[in-house]
Structure formats: C-alpha cells, structure tokens
C-alpha cells in the first residue's frame, strides 16, 4: 500500500494545497515541541539545582507561551485537514460526474451504477479520516522525526544513536508481520467472507425460513456461525496485533534505554541534568508520528481504497465512444417523411458473443414491434440507436447517417426501467424542458394509458409512490411528451407494458396508434400479443436465444 497516491495530487489541487500548508504547520509544530522540551528541562534542572524561583519566572513564561502556540498549531492542522478533505471531496466528485457524463450510460452500466453512486455520494467521506488522522501524521513522520533525531544527536550522541538504531526495526518488523498476517488472512479469507455475510443471509431469508417452519432453530445456527467467525478472526488478529506491539515496544524501549544510559552518565558526572531531561522528553516525541501512522492504518486503508476506486473511474479507457461530436442531424433539417434504416447493424461487445445483425426499415406513420428471445440483444440495439454503444453497420434517418456519441434531438425513448426522478409527475414528464405544458402533459398521460394519474402528484426518489405499472406508464408518457413537443421523428419504447394490466395496455396501444397516425416512427420492443397484433410490422430479432 502506498501511503499517498500521487494521482490524488494530480486530480485534486486541494490535496496539493493541503500538503503544503500541512508541511509548514508540521514544521512549526516540531519546532514548538523542541522548544517546549528544552524550556521544560531547563526549568526543572534549574529548580533542582536550587535556583531562586524568581529567576525562573521568564523561562516559565516562555514555556506558557510555547504551550499556547502548541495548542493553536494542533488546532490549525486539524482545521486545515478538515478544509482540505472537504475541498478534495468536492473536486473528486465533480471530476467523476463529469467523466460519467462524458463516457455515457453504457460505460457506466458495465461498472455497476449502485457502487458508483455510493462511491461518489457517501463513499468519499472515507477521505475525511484519511485527511484528518492519517496524512498529518504521515507529514509529521517525514518532518518531525528526522528533526528530533538530529536535535538528539547534537545534544547527546549516545541517545541519538539509540533512537536511530531502534527506529528502523519498527518498519522492518511491521513489514514482516504484515506479510505473516496476509498469509494467515489469505488462508481464512473465504471462510471469513462467508461467515461475515452469514448474519445477513439469515435475516434476509427469514421469511423463507418461516414459510418452511425453520425459524426456531436458526438462533443456534447464528450462534455457531458467529462463534466460528470469532475463532477465525482472532487467529488473524493474534498476528496482526503484533505490529502494534512492535510499535509500542520500540517506542517505550528506546525511552527506557535513553533514560538508563542518561542516568548512568549523570552518575559519573559526564552529562548535565538539563541535557539528560531534554533528550528524555524528545525520545518519545520522535516515535509519536510513526506510532500514529501505524495506529491510523485503517483510516489510511479506507481512504486510499476509496481514492483507488475514484481513480479507476477517472483513468479508465473510454469503453464506448469518444467525445468527438460528428455531424448531428438537426430535426429541423430532417424531413418528416424520413424513414429510419438499420443496415446490417450489430453491436460490438468486447469479450462477448456478437449480437445479431439487424437490417430493417422503419417508415414514418408505422407502428413497428421488435421481438426476440430474451438475451437476443434487443435493448442493446436500442442503445446503439441512442448512441450509447458503438456498432458496426449503418443507421440512417432520411439522408443523415447516425453515429455513436452524438446528440439525438430527433429521438424520444423510454427504457425498460422507468427511471423516474423525485418531483411531480409533470416534472418527470417534462424532463429536460424548462417548464411543463399542462395540456400536453395530460395528453401524453392519456396516450400512455395513464389518464387516471394526477400530474401534480409528488413522487419520491426513484419515483416512489407509484406502482410498477404506473411508473412504466409515466415513463412512456415522458417519451410521448418529448415526441409531441419537439416533433421527434422516432419514438422508441422498450417493453412498455410488461407490468400493465390488459386495460391499461389497451389504452397505451391506442395512444401509440394515434402517434403513428400523426406520422411518427413508432418502435416498440415487446413480447405482448396485444402489441404485436396492433403493429403494422413485426421485426424478429435473431434466433440465438439464451435461457
């Protein structure tokens, strides 16, 4: 594990700023630590030597000032860390979202959108602790430890050498123990993973267990799983806690060694008390940042893991199309009579069976149904039409050739997943427009078979508040609204009636017929006999069915 990923500095300028400020504050803190130790040891030794208390007053005053300065620096470093974390999170979040917008939905779909959303949302908060607890200590380990060791060498050579000898043992042992831990962990990993999710598995499956009358015996099973988990985890911990042990031992042993050696040299008079106390106070401070870096290992690991995930997105190769904008057909220039043509279109998918090839003409004023076995690649072809995936062959609308990655002002679409947003139904239907036209919203709802819904109904996140069938119809209405408002040539609905009852489906079919009659190219992907019956043409897609 690298303690600091250079990409963090590259992608987030706030991180560079924080490192700079942190280094300055760290240096100041180190100087204050030295001053504090020196003033304190001076005061004690002078007092022990029996000096007049009044003579000590200036030193004690200086000590008090240093103490205040130390507190202020501690505070400033934390403030800087907190501000740095907030700004870095903002910058990374903005970059990831920009990247997602550039690369498009298909690229995102290959990366599990739920994970990405969590990462950009709360996941980045792991950087808080990385910045607050780990990075400052890392800086101090780089700045304070060498300075303190130098001061000790200068003041009392044997003590400095003691610390120099002990210090390298700490990382050495930590690496050795880390390797041993990894070996133990690898051996236990699968079992630990399984036992870790065992509780979730039981709680999640509780309804199923109750149906089969098995709920009463599960407590014993849960106890057994957890005990097994404890046994195996403790085996790992026994090794991994050793690294903490080595850290502590290194730090406290060197204090002990310094104290004893200083003591013995004081006895024979070869050292002064002030110097002896000074190096005694500095010895633990030299180890402190190193110990903290070790102790904050988890804060570091979590933060770096999140950063790693972010960089994986930022550094990823464009999976689909580039960002070049080729000639995008403008709806104004496309004749209303233009037909949509697929000429030997197939979608390129890395590491997958090539999809079926489609050649078809979708004339205006016609309702076309595309059908095909599940997995035949219907939705993927629609994604190609939308420009979300690269494809072979040619798609053309009238005289214009359609390329991937260009805007589609002539296309309205509703996918299999309704994809509704928080807001009113009317807001959802007029998505992408600055204001909703109430009459057109009602008309679109009617054509989608959802005339019974009130456009002012407020939906929660993900369209919460509607049943599956209602959400599906609102999504269809949204595409219909766009079709009517912008005079889109093409309306595509992907499985629009899979959750509809026959009555609603009937309304939708007549709505789609009306749109076709108005001269739009209407394309529906569906298995439903009712829709196929109402179609002007049915396109069968590939026989390569995957069950």
């Amino acid at each position: 594990m690298r303690p600091l990923d250079p990409r963090l500095l590259r992608y987030a300028s706030a991180a560079r700023w924080f490192l700079l400020v942190g280094a300055v504050l760290g240096l100041a803190q180190t100087l204050v630590v030295v001053a504090f130790a020196w003033l304190l040891s001076q005061t004690i030794s002078l007092a022990v030597l029996g000096r007049d208390p009044a003579e000590l007053a200036p030193t004690i005053g200086a000590l008090a000032a240093v103490i205040v300065a130390r507190a202020v620096l501690v505070w400033l470093l934390e403030v800087a860390a907190s501000r740095g974390a907030a700004s870095v999170k903002s910058q990374l979040r903005a970059r990831v979202l920009e990247r997602l917008a550039e690369r498009g939905p298909d690229w995102l779909a290959a990366r599990q959108s739920a994970g990405v959303a969590t990462l950009v949302g709360q996941g980045l908060d792991a950087l808080d602790n990385y910045f607050a607890r780990y990075l400052p200590q890392l800086l101090l380990a780089g700045i304070a430890t060498p300075i303190l060791v130098l001061v000790m060498l200068w003041q009392d050579l044997p003590s400095g050498i003691t610390v120099i000898v002990v210090l390298p043992f700490i990382p050495l042992f930590m690496v050795l123990i880390g390797q041993a831990t990894q070996a133990v962990q690898r051996a236990q990993w699968d079992a630990l993973q399984r036992l870790g999710v065992g509780f979730l598995d039981l709680v999640g499956g509780l309804a199923t267990l109750k149906i089969f009358g098995r709920e009463s015996r599960q407590s014993d099973r849960l106890r057994a799983i957890t005990e097994d988990y404890r046994g195996r985890t403790m085996k790992v911990l026994r090794v991994s806690f050793l690294s903490g042990f080595v850290l502590e031992l290194g730090a406290s042993l060197s204090v002990a060694l310094v104290a004893v050696s200083v003591g013995l040299r004081l006895v024979d008079g070869s050292l002064q008390l002030g110097v002896g106390l000074f190096v005694l106070l500095l010895a633990p401070e030299a180890f402190l940042p190193v110990r903290q870096v070790g102790a904050q290992f988890h804060a570091a690991a979590d933060g770096l893991a999140v950063a790693e995930d972010v960089f994986a997105i930022l550094d990823a190769e464009p999976g689909g199309f580039g960002t070049t904008v080729a000639s995008a057909p403008d709806p104004a220039t496309i004749a209303a009579t233009a037909a949509l043509r697929f000429d030997r279109v197939s979608v390129r998918r890395p590491a997958a069976v090539p999809g079926p090839e489609l050649s078809a003409v979708f004339p205006p004023g016609r309702l076309t149904v595309i059908r095909g076995a599940s997995g035949a690649g219907k939705s993927t072809l629609i994604a190609a039409l939308q420009g979300f995936v690269p494809f072979d062959g040619t798609i053309s609308l009238g005289e214009c050739t359609v390329t991937a990655g260009t805007p589609r002002p002539w296309l309205a679409w509703a996918g299999q997943r309704p994809g509704l947003l928080a807001g009113t139904i009317a807001d959802n239907i007029a998505l992408g427009e600055s204001a909703a036209d109430p009459a057109l919203v009602r008309l679109s709802l009617r054509d989608a078979g959802a005339g019974d819904l009130d456009p002012e109904t407020r939906l929660g996140v993900n369209g919460d508040g509607l049943s599956g069938g209602q959400a599906q119809r609102v999504a269809a209405a949204r595409a219909i609204y766009r079709t009517r408002l912008h005079g889109c040539n093409v309306l595509v609905l992907d499985e629009p009636s899979s959750a509809l009852d026959p009555e609603a489906e009937g309304h939708l079919v007549s709505g789609l017929r009306r749109l076709a009659a108005e001269g739009h190219i209407v394309i529906v992907v569906s298995h439903r006999p009712v829709l196929q019956g109402a179609a002007d043409q049915v396109v069968d897609l590939g026989e390569a069915a995957h069950v």
Binding site: I44, W75, A117, V203, A207, M234, L266, L277, Q386, H527
Partner: protein
C-alpha cells in the same frame, strides 16, 4: 414511536452490546495496566535521571533501572494482551447480540420489517448490529481506562504534593468538560447544519448516476449536473464555515496538558526538590496522553448510539398490531382437516393492512380453495395481491374470516397454518450455500435421490447437472441463479415440503415474458399433480386450460 420509548429501546439494545463483566474486565485490566505502565515509565525515568544527577552510589538507582525496563516492556505487552482479550470479548458478545436482535426480528419478519424490506436497508440493519461491537471496544474501555488512570495519577501526585495533585485534577476536569461538552455542542451544531445538505447531495448524486441513460436521452444531464455542483458547493461552504470547530478538542487537550505541567512547576518549585519534583512535573504529560483517547471514544459513542437507535427503531420490541402474534392459550383443535389432503381454505370478506399504513391494503376478499383447485388471482398493480399472499401465511393479521378446514386461522398456531399453506415468494431467497442446502431445509429427511427427483420435476435437472450437481453453490443472494431458476428452486422447496395448499406470488416478476409463460405453465401443472390446491397470484393472463377459477381483486 415516542421519543422516550425509542430511548428505552435504544438502551436495551446497548445493554445487549456490552459484554458481561467476566469477559470485559480482563481486557479492561490489561488496558489499565498498560496505561499505568506508560505513566510509570515516564515518572520512573524522570526520577532516575534527577536522582542520578545527585550522584548517589549506583546501587541506589538499580530499582529504578529495573523499573524503567519493566514498565517499558509492560506497557507494550499489556497493550497487546488488552487488544486480544477485549476483541475476543466483543466477538463473544457479538454472538449474543446477533442472536438477541435476531430473536426480536423473528416474530416481525417479513411484514413488520416493511421499512427495511429493501435489500439495501436490510444490509444497513445488519451492519448497524455488527457496528455495535464498537461499544465495548472503542467507547466503554477507552473511557474507563482514561478515567481510572487519571484517578490513580491524581492520587499519586497528590500524595507527593497536594497542590500539584489538585491542579492536575482541575486541568483534567476542565479539559474533559471543555473538550467533550464544548466540542460536542460544536459538533452537534455543525452536524445539524451539514446533515441535510449532505443528504440532499447524496440523493441528487444517486439520482444522476442511476438515471444517467434517461437524463442523457432527454438532454437533461447538464442541468442536473449543475444542480449537483450547486448542492456540492453549498455543502463545501458549510463544511468550511464549520471547520474552525473541528480541531478544538485536540487543542483543548494539548493546552490543558501544558497548563497542568506549568501548574505543577509553579506548585512544586517552592516546596519540593530533586526527583520528586521532576516526577510531579512530568506525570501530567503522560496522563494527558492516555486521556487523549477520550475524544475518539466520544466520537465512537455518537456513532454507536445512532446505530443502536436505528436498530431499535427498525426492530421494535413490541410487535405492531398488524402483525399476528402467537396467543399463549391457542386452541389446539383437533385438526383432522389439516394434513389429510382434504383441507379447504376459505376467505370471507378478508381485509389486511401493513404496519404504519393509513388504509388497509386489501379489503373484501372472498374465495374458496378446495383440494385440486387452481385459482388465478389477478388484479392491477397496487390492488393488494402480495398483501393477500402474506396474509395467507400469517405474516400479516386480517379482518373478516380466514378458515382452514373450518377452523379460524387466528386460533391456530402460526406454524400450523404454515405447515398447511405454503408460499412461493415473489423474490425467493436463496441462501449462500449449495443447491442441496437450499432444498434440504424444506424437508431435512430428504435423500439425494428425493432432491434430484424434485429438481427433475421442476425442470432444472439439466441445469443442475451442468452446474455440477447438488453441491453447486448458488452464490451470495443467489447471484449465480437467474430469476426463473430461482422460482423453480422455490417451487422445488414447496414440493418437498408438500404443502396441501400452495400460494404462488407473481412468479414471473423477475423473468422475461417468454420464459414467464412457460414457468407459469410448469408451476401450475407440477404443483397440481398431487391434488394440491394452488392459488396463483399474477398480473399477467393465464390460459383457461391451466386453471379452474379466476378471482380479480379490485383496482
């Protein structure tokens, strides 16, 4: 729930998370020993050095030399011991904690957990339960250790020089109060301002990422991204405004460590000389280092408390009225009808509601299901079809009448109802285990031949063979199994359990349409082979030949 009740319930959960003394005390003792060694290491070193400066015969120092070395070793050894024993205790308690929460979930699940029914919230609940092990590890023990060590040190310093002891005590108390109460207030105020901003940002990000296709297709992406940037900027500005309060805790501790040191200097100079003086001046520094664990412990406490609150709210101690509870003096009528295959299920004007809902989800259902009947229950989405399924297996209570073999279901033990009426759920749960284990719990006496036979009956023989037989794993949450295969496994379980009445809830919800038709046909023909009564709940149409009757729920 009222606030007082939530507080009581949270407290009960927290009590469940704290290990008993027998497990907890050894860890605490080791932790205290380690911290005492740390303080003693500095005190002895200071004594050794100042005494040595007086140049006594070296013999006088040998005890101190031994002490310094012993404390250095003791500090790290006790610390290692402390971490091992306290983790072990926390894990032991985790087992009790999980079992305790689980046994509270059992009577509630699944309908009483409606709010946590979504997968993500469910794993949140489970994570919260597991996070409670931080209570002994990161809250109670550090606080207890810091308290004990502080007390011991104050007494020690006091016995050398009462005034220095008093100033140390005052510094600790003031630093503790300022550092905890003061910064706690600051943190709480910041959190009150930041939490809604953070929530709004997270929600917007989620919406953009999950609906990237829709937003791109409708040209709404730039506007949405701009909105996210605005939300992000609001949060960032608020965080920066609040950042000044963040480091106060650490600064207060550092400041008062210094105050205690200077106070000891001033108090000690006139009256003490030599080693004792050095000891009382340096001990405060070491005490404050131990005391430095307090802020982190309080931070952990805030997290543990909110986890406990969430668990207490999600898993109420009292079962809501809509969930049926076992009545102690249930009438165990002799039930000749229950198992002999002649069970008739009859509903008259049945209604049911979900906990916390204003209106019943289903009302006025009447139907009769005799052996051999295959009834298709249709109805638009939202008409209460799933509610009915959950009511029939007594996950939800009902109004009106529901009789099994002429006996009111309310009067029968729930397990008895469920031994007669089985349910294939909309999303059958597959355990992260082998196919064998996923079938076997339906009838644990079944032999491998029985299992293979039932797999064959539900049309999975080829699939199971290709996977490597009964030992093939289904993956976490059935990740390696498609929606249709999961339904078939659920059907196989129901056949193994041999329910006289089988309710099948939307088997095609997660299956594409073409496969769905075949699945429905297979379920109906297979399930009915043994004269079983089947209630198929589905919004899609079913061919007449496969069923004996249709019932439609109102829209």
């Amino acid at each position: 729930m009222s606030e007082a009740r939530i507080r009581r319930a949270t407290l009960a959960i927290l009590r469940l998370a704290q290990p008993r003394a027998r497990w907890f005390l050894p860890g605490l003792a080791a932790g205290v020993a380690s911290a005492v060694c740390a303080v003693a290491l500095l005190a002895t070193s200071a004594w050794l050095i100042t005494r040595a400066a007086e140049q006594p015969p070296i013999l006088y120092l040998s005890m101190a030399v031994v002490g310094v070395r012993a404390f250095a070793l003791g500090r790290s050894a006790f610390r290692y011991l402390d971490r091992l024993t306290s983790h072990d205790a926390a894990f032991r308690q985790l087992s009790l904690l999980r079992v305790g929460v689980f046994s509270r979930i059992v009577p509630l699940a699944p309908a009483g957990l409606a709010d946590t029914g979504r997968g993500e919230l469910l794993s949140r609940l489970v994570r919260d339960v597991d996070a409670l092990q931080d209570l002994p590890l990161r809250v109670v023990q550090p606080l207890a250790t810091a308290g004990i060590v502080a007390a011991v040190s104050v007494i020690g310093v006091w016995s050398v020089q009462p005034l220095a002891g008093l100033t140390l005590l005052l510094s600790l108390v003031v630093a503790g109060l300022l550092g905890t109460l003061g910064s706690g207030l600051l943190a709480a105020r910041a959190e009150r301002e930041l939490a809604p901003l953070r929530g709004s940002l997270t929600g917007q990000v989620l919406e953009v990422v999950e609906n990237l296709d829709v937003l791109t297709a409708f040209g709404a992406l730039p506007a949405r991204l701009a909105a996210v940037r605005r939300a992000d900027e609001l949060l960032r500005r608020a965080t920066l405004r609040r950042s000044l309060g963040v480091g106060v805790q650490g600064a207060v501790l550092s400041l008062f460590a210094g105050v205690a040191t200077v106070a000891a200097l001033v108090a000690g100079i006139p009256v003490l000389a030599g080693p004792a003086f050095a000891v009382i001046v340096l001990v405060p520094m070491a005490v404050f280092e131990v005391f430095g664990a307090v802020p982190a412990a309080l931070g952990a406490w805030r997290e543990v408390r909110s986890s406990a609150e969430r668990v207490a709210t999600a898993v109420p101690a009292e079962v809501p009225g809509e969930i049926p509870v076992e009545i102690p003096d249930q009438i165990h009528v002799d039930r000749p009808a229950a198992r002999n295959g002649a069970t008739v299920l009859e509903l008259t004007d049945l209604g049911a509601s979900w906990p916390g809902a204003d209106a019943p989800a289903v009302t006025g259902v009447s139907l009769r299901l005799a052996p051999g009947d295959r009834v298709h229950l249709a109805g638009p989405s939202g008409s209460g079809k799933t509610t009915l399924a959950q009511t029939l297996v007594r996950f939800l209570d009902y109004s009106g009448s529901y009789t099994l073999g002429g006996v009111e279901a309310r009067l029968l033990p729930q397990t008895e109802v469920r031994s007669v009426v089985g349910l294939c759920e909309q999303r059958p749960w597959l355990f992260d285990d082998s196919i064998r284990q996923n079938l076997l719990f339906a009838r644990d006496t079944a032999t491998d031949e029985d299992l293979l036979a039932v797999i064959d009956r539900v049309g999975l023989a080829e699939w199971a063979t290709a996977r490597g037989g009964l030992d093939a794993r289904v993956g976490e949450r059935g990740a390696l199994v498609s929606g249709g295969q999961a339904q078939r496994i659920a059907l196989a379980r129901a056949l193994l359990a041999d329910f006289p009445v089988l309710v099948v809830d939307e088997p095609t919800a997660n299956v594409d349409e073409e496969q769905g038709d075949r699945l429905v046909r297979d379920i109906l023909t297979t399930a009915a082979e043994d004269g079983r009564a089947v209630l198929l709940i589905s919004h899609t149409s079913v061919p007449d030949a496969l069923i004996t009757a249709r019932v439609t729920l109102g829209g």
